[in-house]
Structures are given as structure tokens and as C-alpha cells.
Amino acid sequence: MVMGLVLLAFPLTAFGDYREEFEKGFLTKTWSGQQPEENFCIECHSSDKMKPEFLTIAEEWKASWHAQNQIACHDCHGGDPKDPSMSMSPHRGFVGKPAPNEVPEFCGKCHIGILKNYLESDHGKAFRSSGKGPNCVTCHGSHGIQQANIEIISEQRCSKCHSYERARTMKQALFLTEKKIAELSQGLLNLRKEGVYIDDERMNLFSIQAEFRALFHSVDVNMVKDRTDEFSHKLSAVENRIRATERELRFRRNFSALILLFFVSMGSVLYLLIKTPKE
């Protein structure tokens, strides 16, 4: 039988190419996370030979929300990050730095929903007609982009073109809903710590949040106020489900505690029985 196995094994070793991978991976390192991919854009833009004004880009990007979600240089600018000779080649889709008036469409390649709301907004219209007005980079930055949050609306940022009053009204209109979303997000994470599978609910919350945020880009306070109820309703539904899950978890704890109590009492009775000799 061993001979049979040995004979069988020979043709099968032809498929053993995965074995090198595992030899490398099995004994020489722990099965730790993803290996950092080679990215020649970052390599050049962090090297000493680069012009100083381009050097900050790599550092800013590494600290950004895009970097945390594995969105790298080529995802926006094109080019081939694995091949240094083609990293800035138009043949690989390299578009370089967008001109200021191209910025909305540049970011809107992915953020389609937001682009639509922006172009219909006063901000977008002002930008299109006179070139004066905020584009994406004005509020969010270009490489050091952080996760969108309500604090982006600030006096310093928003009073560059007009009084802060309008921005403040908008911020107030957004505030409660944003706070609720943050609360529910935390609630879901707490549930996850208790072993509950939350991904479906988390995706639902994200969808509500994304829709709400896209709404902001229309900078129409009245629209935001009108639709806040609708969002509030959706968020209540999420909250009810979270509370129901929390109640269920408490019930389970109590139920199994009760069973534990039964076993403890039986154990004690048995212990007494052991100690009471039969005579």
C-alpha cells in the first residue's frame, strides 16, 4: 500500500507549486496580515532624490483614511505602481495632478453620489460658473484625507467666502442625526464584542449615513431639515433592533445562569450524598 501511495504521489507532485509558498510561509513567519505590496509611487516620492514639495505626499497619504482602506496612488492618478518605468505613463492611465476645475470629476470617479449632489448645489454652481468656490480639496484636503465628520464644518474653513452663519445653521441641522449615527455605530461594536454578527446591520447603518452625508453636499439647509425626520425614522429602526439584541443577550445570560444554578445545587446534593455513608 505504501508503494501504491508512493507511485500515486509522483504525478501529484506536479501540482505542488503551492508548497513553496507554504514552505516559505509555514516555518519562517507567523500567518500574519497582508504583506505590504510594492508601491513604486510611494518609493520614489519618499526618496531623497524627490523634490521637497512632493515629499510630504507619501507621509500624508499613509496617515489618510484612503490608505487604511487600501486605496493607493494609482486608484486616483492612474499609472502602474508595480513597474517604475510605467508608473507615470499615460498608457497605464496616468493623469497626474488634476487642474483645480477638474477636481470634482477627479474625486467623482468613485464618489459618484456626492459629485451629483455637489454639482447641483450652490457650491458646485459657483465653482462651475466663476471658478470661485470650494471644490473637494478645499474641505477634505488632497492626500491626507480623513474620515468625513461633522467637524469639517468649521468657522475657519467656511468663512473664507461668506459668513459662518450659514455653515453654523447647516451644522446644527446635521448635528443630532450625526450624533445618533455615532451612538449606534458604537452600539454595534459593543454587540460585536459580545460575539454577535453585526455586518448586515453595519452595512445598513453605513448606507443611511452615506445617504445623509451626500445630502449635506447640496448645502441646502431646508432640504436637510425636511429630510431629517426620514433619517431619524430609519435610525430608530436600527436602534430598536440593537436594543432587542441587547435584551436577547441579557435573557441568554440569565437563562444559562439559572441552569448553572441547577447544576450547582445538584452538585452540592451529590457532595452531601458522598459524605453520607450508606449504613
Binding site: 453620489g113 453605513f206 452615506a210 441552569i259 445538584m266 452531601l272 450508606k278 449504613e279
Partner: protein, 136 residues
């Protein structure tokens, strides 16, 4: 002797109660699931969806898009993008489903064409019964 007898009775009582505290969950566990599933189905009339158009329905509290694809028939797909959960939009010009959050693009069968979604859109079972479409 009386002590032993007493303890044995106590054990019997505790044992019965413990057994019951497992028997009840077991009964509930094994009981056939209710007929709630039957009520969830959604019905649409065929004439409500002409060729090349779509309708949105709510199935199991989630939005579903029912598309009448000319030449391929009816299909019901979940509108929930498999990337982060935003709701996809039907681009009638290009016959594609596009997610407004990060441009995840799907064809009309729900397969991912480009963008970040990791999986195709969930298909919802759809049956044609005469002039009606039954989803679910």
C-alpha cells in the same frame, strides 16, 4: 438513613427540574419554523414592468430591484451593494447597476464588473405565475 433518603429525593427533584430546563428548549428548537415565510412574498403584475424598465419593491424589509431585461426575462436583485451596503442605482442608459458611494458597477445579472464590491448582488428568487411575478 433518613438523611440519605432526603438527599435522594432532593436529587430527584433537582434532576427533574434540570431535565425540564433542557427539554423545553429542545422542544422549541425542534418545532417546525412558522409559516411567516409564506407571508413575506411580494407579488407584482407583469404589465407593471415593461421591457427595459425596473421596479423597486421591499422584500424582508430590504429594497429589491426587479428588472425586465429584454431577451433575458425578469430578474430580482437585492439593491444592497456588497461593498459597504449602499443602495445601487439602475443606470438605464448603460444597462448597469452602479453604487453611488464608491462606483461599484454590476451588470444586470448582479455580477461585479468593476469597483470595490467583493461579491455579486444577492439574487432573490423570482417565479412567473401567469401574469404575476412572485418574488421570494
Amino acid at each position: 438513613m433518613r438523611r440519605r433518603t432526603f438527599l435522594r429525593y432532593l436529587l430527584a427533584v433537582c434532576g427533574t427540574v434540570s431535565f425540564a430546563s433542557f427539554a423545553y428548549p429542545l422542544m422549541r428548537f425542534l418545532a417546525p419554523p412558522g409559516d411567516a415565510n409564506k407571508e413575506k412574498k411580494v407579488t407584482l403584475a407583469k404589465k407593471d414592468i415593461p421591457a427595459g424598465t425596473s421596479r423597486i419593491v421591499l422584500f424582508d424589509e430590504k429594497p429589491v430591484i426587479v428588472i425586465n431585461h429584454p431577451g433575458k426575462g425578469y430578474i430580482a436583485l437585492s439593491k444592497v451593494c456588497t461593498h459597504l451596503g449602499c443602495l445601487v442605482e439602475f443606470d438605464t442608459a448603460r444597462n448597469l447597476l452602479i453604487c453611488p458611494c464608491h462606483a461599484g458597477t454590476y451588470d444586470l445579472e448582479g455580477n461585479v464588473l468593476s469597483g470595490p464590491p467583493p461579491r455579486p448582488l444577492a439574487k432573490i428568487p423570482l417565479r412567473v405565475e401567469g401574469e404575476q411575478l412572485v418574488i421570494g
